[in-house]
Amino acid sequence: MVPLSHYLILSAALFAIGMFGALARRNAIGILMALELMFNAVNLNFVAFSRYLPQTMLQGQIFAIFVITVAAAEAAVGLAIVLGLYRNFKTVNVDEINLMKG
């Protein structure tokens, strides 16, 4: 059988990749994609814990469902914001959108 720590390390790697993308990409849509990677890593952790640790009420899977729902809401609002940015600034590169930088 696959031990729990394998899943945790895989999820940590996925999270680190997503974090690098969120910090380093210029394109705002690329940043949102990296955020989705991080959400997936967290969900993988929840599901793995819910499979391996003793529990009474499937907390891990339930929480993963709620994370997926909130992630969907986040993606919809985030992409609407990106569209608004593009309309106002004619770019989606976050390092060119520096209106509030003194």
Binding site: S5, F20, R25, R26, I65, A80, Y86
Partner: protein
């Protein structure tokens, strides 16, 4: 090495490779396609973890919904075949350092904390009890999340709507 382990390592390599492609690919459309493969890999890992319902939700919502939304946003904003454009900002090096440090820290904590819980519990057929729990114990968060979805939907429509010309 058992079959399960082989499948796990195959899926892990597939998922991580696709995830790297999401972060590093130059063309943003390629990133979106690679993201689809990452989602499929994670869905397969859910099946491996006996979470069939979550695997189905993952495919329906992420592969079917969010990716389409992302592709729409890409086509509505950027010039797709922009070549020679920098995809990373100037913090790329230090970001890689920070991400790797976080990864090392998490691996360290995992190996230190969860060696004992190595063997999985006996498999349970969870989908039916998942549905029951969502409508009994967890019914309040369930309803709250539906309100959140409504708010997000209205908010997205308001934000994405073209502003009316001011006369």
């Amino acid at each position: 090495m058992t079959v399960t382990q082989a499948v796990f390592f195959l899926l892990a390599a597939f998922t991580l490779g696709a995830a790297l492609l999401v972060v590093l690919a130059t063309n943003i459309v390629h990133c979106a396609i690679a993201l689809v493969f990452t989602f499929f890999g994670v869905a397969a890992l859910y099946v491996l973890l006996d979470a069939e319902f979550l695997a189905a939700v993952q495919v329906l919502l992420y592969v079917g919904g969010i990716t389409i939304l992302l592709l729409f946003a890409i086509m509505l904003t950027s010039r797709i075949s922009a070549r020679g454009v920098k995809i990373m900002n100037e913090q790329a090096g230090i970001s890689a350092l920070v991400a790797f440090a976080i990864f090392a820290l998490m691996v360290f904590a995992n190996l230190k904390g969860f060696v004992l819980a190595a063997a999985p519990l006996p498999a349970s057929y969870a989908t039916a009890s998942l549905g029951k729990l969502l409508l009994t114990t967890y019914v309040l968060p369930f309803e709250v999340v539906s309100i959140l979805l409504l708010a997000a939907m209205v908010g997205a429509i308001i934000l994405a709507k073209r502003e009316r010309e001011k006369d």
